[in-house]
Amino acid sequence: MPSIEAVNLSKKYGSFAAVSNLSLKIEGAKCVGFLGPNGAGKTTTLKMFTDLVRPSSGEALINGVNVHTQKKLALESVGTLIEMPEIYPALTPREALMMIAEIRGVPKGARNDRIEEAVSEVRMEEWIDKRVGKFSKGMKQRICVASALLSDPCIILFDEPTMGLDPRGMSEVRDIIKSLKNKKRLIFMSSHLLSEVSDVCDEVAMIDHGKLVIYDTLSNVTAKVSGGENIVEVGLRNPVDAGLMNKIAAKIPGIDKAEKSDGTTFRIRFTGGVDVQERILADLVRMNIGIVSYRQASSALEEAYLSLITSTL
């Protein structure tokens, strides 16, 4: 089972503690969002997991292997995208990715196929043989995403993977992350976009002033902050009317409130965790009201975030 673990991980720059005694263990196939304000220590933590920064104390372990002392072994099954890397400008994506494929030991016969597959996943097929020096930031970011996926790693570490991308690019990267979840990968990603985290992540870890504030499932985090109350957003095929809201609140047990959000969506507030959330979904489906989407409300995570993270550096 893939795992990443921070054991009393700390990083100090002089007297400033960027990360302070962080202990966090994530294992299994899932997507975990890493949240926190600017300067909270998210990127520094990810850098310690990728040999870009040395820990002042503690250990960063990947699959039980210390990244600092056994880097090659620790990172052999890890794909990374930290900050916005630059690629040697005179190389083409095919060449730059071939370099990574060779370094990561992708079998020779599979390299070209893997490169074309990864480039196609980030929709850069047309640019595969053009020099990177002429690319925009977003295009380079897509190639870097492709580089992270190239060796089919079991663990993926992303630092704000949609940063610098246009809305379509952001959506495509989110789709890639969702598809990786289906492939049973462990994804650990930092992001400032709470809606993005709500959309793709199963769990969230929040960090503030270098310290872990909370690590739990998305629904438990939002439930804890709202005194056990959770919010889901339901999308319908047809417009929502007030009568339907009353009917739902009356018919389905456990719902505290059902309220219309906009034309075809409404929100349900309920008390409980994922079990209750699942039962409500089953009840709604039985009502045959034309559900097209059902997900944790991003604003619920925002409320939790604002409640837990009280200040921004």
Binding site: L52, K72, A90, M99, R104, G105, P107
Partner: protein
């Protein structure tokens, strides 16, 4: 140095093989980028100017003997071609990884930093050797026009020049590891090689009457001195003024073993320090 296979069928190559991979792609980047052709143009341009000047003015200092030709042409200019190569290919080799953020692409992979460092160093050495080789070929071409054979001392000088290139690259990579700014590492290296070392050598020899054995440029004198017969004495004093009673000017000359030792030590020490710095440097 062994390769490891993970559960996904990828076999991470040995560190030695990864040195070769880094070297291959860095070299490709050098050859594709303008810097290689700019330096090649500079080397060809210098050669062209010398060809015209020597061909037109026929200076006696160049054309007295084969050795004087190679001493005047190669012995005086090769060190500048080497320093420029070091600066062009080594100046930002490591600092650029930080400043341009290319390090974020390569380092978070299952590869030792030392493999990246050595791979980049080797590619710089190959690219610089090509430039030096082109300059040497043009030198020999001109030499053969005026004299029927190439003196054996030129072969030794060429070898010493290549050793010096190795040390210069060790030195430039060290400075490149020291600074995070590419322009700073390039500027400092250029100032040291073109001005500072020569000024220090002048002052140490004349005011402290001490042999400047601690300077790389002093060791590099063997490149030109080997083309002088007889080989210059270890030290000589020239007096100026009426009756030789004026100020004196002391010249020290590194012997061949001394020069090779200085060049070798500079290479070993600066390469080791550069590697240690790169291993410890953080991408903050």
């Amino acid at each position: 140095m062994t390769e490891t296979e993970n559960s996904y069928g990828n076999k991470v190559p040995s560190s030695l093989a990864q040195v070769g991979i880094t070297m291959k792609y860095t070299l490709l980047d050098y050859v594709r980028s303008r810097r290689f052709f700019i330096l090649l143009t500079i080397a060809v341009l210098i050669s062209a100017i010398l060809t015209v000047v020597v061909g037109y003015y026929r200076p006696a200092v160049f054309l007295t003997s084969p050795l004087s030709f190679y001493s005047g042409w190669w012995g005086n200019i090769a060190i500048y071609v080497i320093v420029l190569s070091g600066v062009f290919f080594g100046g930002d080799a490591i600092s650029g990884e930080f400043q341009n953020k290319t390090g974020y692409f390569g380092i978070p992979n299952p590869i030792r930093r030392s493999s990246i460092y050595i791979g980049k160093w080797l590619s710089a050495l190959i690219a610089s050797t090509v430039i030096l080789g082109v300059f040497a070929a043009i030198t020999v071409g001109n030499g053969l026009y005026y004299f029927p054979s190439v003196p054996s001392e030129f072969g030794l000088s060429l070898l010493f020049a290549w050793f010096y290139l190795v040390a210069v690259l060790g030195f430039t990579f060290f400075f490149s590891s020291l600074f995070k700014s590419s322009s700073m590492s390039i500027l400092v290296t250029l100032i040291l090689f073109l001005f500072a070392f020569n000024i220090i050598q002048l002052f140490v020899a004349n005011f402290a009457q001490t042999e400047p054995w601690f300077l790389l440029t002093y060791g590099a004198q063997i490149i030109g001195n080997i083309l002088t017969v007889p080989y210059p004495p270890p030290s000589s004093v020239t007096s100026f003024g009426p009756g030789g009673n004026g100020p004196t000017f002391t010249t020290f000359n590194a012997t061949v073993p001394e020069g090779l030792a200085i060049i070798g030590l500079y290479f070993i020490i600066t390469t080791f320090l550069g590697l240690v710095l790169f291993e410890r440097k953080e991408f903050t």
